[in-house]
Amino acid sequence: MKLKKVILASHGDLSKGMLHSIQVIIGKPSCDIETYSLYPGDSAVEYANKLNEEIKLHPNTQYIVIADVLGGSVHTALMQILDNDNLFLYSGMNMSMVLEVLTCFDDTDQEKLSKFMEAGKEGITLMSKNSLVKIEDEEF
């Protein structure tokens, strides 16, 4: 199976907190995972350049980077290194999406990568007493 590395990247400690919360649910992830936090005064571009060098040194590793917000400085900086074939960049990090990514034990192809994003979108809902979703009961 192809090597996979997941990076959670955010402004501040969201990425660290996300990893912590995920581990409460699934325990230690089976793939290589790290977090990046951009703090005031740091340069996201500098980080992206460093990551770019790492990615180029590991052409056989699939890099799945999950950034916090579309168009934020972390995401924008990371977009600049998308010329790497083995880099896949998400924005809009949320727990549903990260859980899907980290519990995929098989090879992650393009179709799966899209499915993870869909899971993240489907995980966003609004409920109240009067709008409790009516879902049909299933039978065998």
Partner: protein, 155 residues
């Protein structure tokens, strides 16, 4: 085919929904509980907590026994989740094909003592576990699939 029978008082929640279903490669989660069937909001919550791409069926114990024994569930890779040791005992007494039970967590109560980080049992539970072990059922404690299996046995 029954892939796994698990006891977890929370039924479907993060741990179960994501890690176990994928680990087991199950295509159907079967929740068996008399209490659950009486609580519509809780049933709705289970449907929402269910991982995508997996079927979810909920039944009381009596109906579940019939469905498993008459072959209705055979074509599914079943992940059965029960709420308590008592329910597991009632089910296994009537479903001989169950040979192994995983305990994820049971509720802590005044009359229960702790046998593992998330597992609390009463004297009656202990008795039922002993009987199930005598029936040849293997009982192991494991919260998430990647944890090490802890076999349950009594002195």
């Amino acid at each position: 085919m029954i892939k796994c029978v698990r006891i977890d008082h929370r039924l479907i929640h993060g741990q179960v929904a994501f890690s176990w279903t994928k680990f087991l490669d199950a295509d159907c989660i079967f929740l068996i509980s008399d209490q659950l069937m009486k609580n519509e909001i809780r049933m709705a919550a289970m449907k929402i907590a269910k991982p995508s791409g997996v079927k979810l069926v909920m039944k009381n114990i009596e109906d579940a026994i019939k469905l498993i024994n008459n072959g209705s569930t055979d074509k599914y890779k079943l992940f059965i989740i029960l709420e308590s040791i008592e329910d597991a005992y009632r089910l296994t007494k009537n479903v001989p094909s169950i040979k192994k039970i995983n305990i994820g967590g049971t509720q802590s109560k005044d009359d229960r003592y702790q046998i593992s980080k998330a597992v609390f049992i009463s004297k009656e539970d202990e008795q039922k576990l002993k009987e199930m072990i005598k029936m040849g059922i293997e009982i192991e404690i494991r919260l998430v699939p990647t944890d090490i299996e802890k076999k349950v046995h009594f002195m």
